[in-house]
Symmetry: C2
Subunit: 413 residues, 2 copies
């Protein structure tokens, strides 16, 4: 049986980023850029005023004596968004707003609080100002032609603003994977169907679809498939139109499990059927053409844990992400842990932080049917194949689950 | 001038969570639950088999001698999703699949690998099995009536699954705020408009809309408003139909700034106009009826930084979030920092992690027009009012920006 790391490598080896699509920048947040974006002009485009005040020649700001400040003639009133019609000559000033282009002739800005307006035509400069003061230079932020966002970068709000500032209304990004989600089993009914004896609700279909969306994918629930090979094959053929197919249930050893047969019958090239881990040992992975297929276990916790470990990095890689793993932290155990030798085990834990140290406690019983334990959990503590007994106080690695909000150090602002 | 902490308190004091709406559970991820959800039946609903195997009476599994294992009669074949028609009597077994309800009469499960099927009617039990083995008990996960998800909890994939498992197809969640985004200034044009001299693209409208969406809000760009009080008042009146209004630009001291006058004219009760911080000193906040109004500075960096510090927590509080702040970490400075006494300063930094220690370097020039610095930044380092010089090596608090991917300890699984 292959290890968790071997399984992940086998999966990621088969995955390349999907094709690209063009999206408008208002929809591009959270996507990965699939082209280098270069500046098409300087940013700022021209020398401009960093303050509201007066554009002047710095030589004109020197007072003739300590008691007689320079007095200049206001020759124009220049709002932002307009270009001065006049230039600044000796003894002249142009009243200027933040962001407005610096008029010809001026080499500095006297900010408003360093000046005293005498009347509509005259201003007194209260202190000498060096050349270049309170100017933003053309190209100070970005020079025409600069690479401003490299391909492969995650688009966050700052990148959306940058794209707009360089006149890009649309950009190429990697496609989001469409993921067909199938639940298998005669015992499964949808949430709005009557619950006869022996039936349970398809919680996996909902939880896995939410995990797909959480990983940036587009979930397509294909519904609940009866326990016959024919029904499964038909659903799989529909699913193969997507970029990935997830089935849950039907991959353990029982005679009522047709998933394997159906997967092989539709032509899936299977890489493995089992991974040495708890929860989640029955876990199948294969591909057919450009579609990858995951057969997740039917137990609610096992299906979520195997999704987190294998499917989520795969979906992120498809979208061009370079950081595809959940963050991990180190924590000290608050209780002894015992497990079977020879398998990796992922233990649902809650975390507490005291000072700089995290502490981990199990969420309670670790049965893989106990979905509430995933709701309570902050993370999955990782115990390795060669570990059997871990005493309280031992340090353990914890993979943080989405939505964990305890990462902060104490905030002091 | 009020401090950053006073400003944030003043803002959050005026904000209550918005009303609730019912959404289907497939759309509920990332929302905050606005009702207590109780279980409507036991989970699992009945004692069921944890393994594929045989439901038997444990007394029947004891071999009559070490060499002669017990042999039992298979009286029924029970798939998951169905209830046994027969009960298990002495000397009998029912072939059972994982998840199927335990038949009457049986008190334990013999997993398939501990049994040897002789023919369709007979199975040999290879080892004695104690009562209660490989059973999942009714109510083991959840008991009927239990509070399974409390009001106020963030709905993640595990909660979506839990809701489905307890037959909830819809839940009440707090509304997402609609946020009107206005850009002011005659110098601003939209991304697809011609760029005449003196004009710049409305990068703030795009960046702020992306920040709104990033904080769970629904951005509504009302466009670029000319520099007249009448135009602004009209746009503000449209904006007041939303839960929040953001303007950018027009809150500094210049004569061309009509935002203040327009805000007051439409009846906004203003809490403050300035906050003692860099970047972002001109920052206005007020409210009118149930709508809050933020007047952010026009500089691209200043508008993003003030959004992160004030607007994002406000929007999260509206949605019922209890964790409304970005995570922070402590880092050591890689270079000396000098700043003005008396103001809090938020310095754009990149982070490196070596071992357990983070190190911070400035992104370069900290001019508030330099939007690319926000794209490069991993976080905002916080220097306080009473700090003027911070030498390299000093520890500083860093608020992490969205999308920072360097939080992990080394991953070893």
């Amino acid at each position: 049986m292959i290890s968790v790391i071997e399984a992940r490598d086998a999966i990621l080896d088969r995955i390349r980023p999907l094709g690209v699509e063009r999206v408008d920048i208002a929809s591009a947040r959270g996507r990965v850029l699939a082209e280098d974006v270069h500046a098409t002009r300087n940013q700022p485009p021209w020398d401009n005023s960093a303050m509201d005040g007066y554009a002047v020649r710095s030589v004109d700001t020197v007072p003739s004596s300590p008691d007689s400040p320079a007095e200049l003639e206001i020759v124009e009133d220049l709002p932002a968004g307009y270009v001065a019609k006049r230039s600044v000559g000796p003894g002249q000033a142009i009243h200027i707003m933040t962001g407005a282009p610096v008029p010809e002739g001026a080499d500095t800005i006297v900010r408003a609080e360093r000046a005293l307006k005498v009347d509509a035509r005259r201003v007194r400069i209260l202190q000498a100002v060096e050349s270049g003061t309170d100017l933003r230079r053309a190209g100070e932020d970005i020079r025409d032609g600069d690479l401003i966002i490299p391909s492969g970068m995650l688009i966050r709000p700052a990148e959306v603003g940058l794209l707009a500032s360089t006149n890009r209304s649309h950009v190429s990004v990697y496609r989001r994977p469409r993921v067909a989600v199938l639940s298998t089993g005669d015992e499964i009914v949808d949430v709005d169907e009557p619950l006869e004896d022996g039936k349970i609700v398809d919680s996996n279909g909902y939880a896995l679809s939410a995990l797909v969306a959480d990983a940036g994918g587009i979930p397509q629930r294909l519904g609940i498939i009866p326990d016959t090979q024919e029904a499964l094959e038909e659903a799989l053929r529909d699913g193969l139109l997507a970029d990935a197919v997830i089935t849950s249930g039907g991959v353990s050893v029982g005679e009522y499990d047709y998933v394997k047969a159906a997967l092989e019958s539709v032509g899936t090239s299977m890489a493995f059927w089992k991974v040495s881990m708890t929860p989640g040992r029955p876990l199948a992975f294969g591909s057919i053409d450009d579609t990858i297929v995951f057969g997740l276990p039917g137990n609610p916790v096992a299906s979520m844990v195997t999704f987190e470990l294998f499917m989520r990095p795969a979906l992120l890689k498809m979208q061009g992400y370079t950081h595809i793993y959940r963050p991990t932290i180190k924590a000290r155990l608050l209780e002894d842990l015992t497990k079977s030798l020879g398998r990796k085990q992922f233990i649902r834990v809650t975390l507490q932080k005291r000072g700089d140290q995290y502490y981990a406690s199990r969420t309670g019983a670790q049965g893989s049917g106990i979905l509430r334990s995933m709701s309570i959990a902050d993370g999955l503590a990782v115990s390795h194949e060669d570990q059997e007994f871990m005493p309280a106080g031992q340090e353990i690695e914890v993979m943080l689950l989405g939505g964990y909000s305890g990462l902060s150090d104490d905030r002091n602002y």
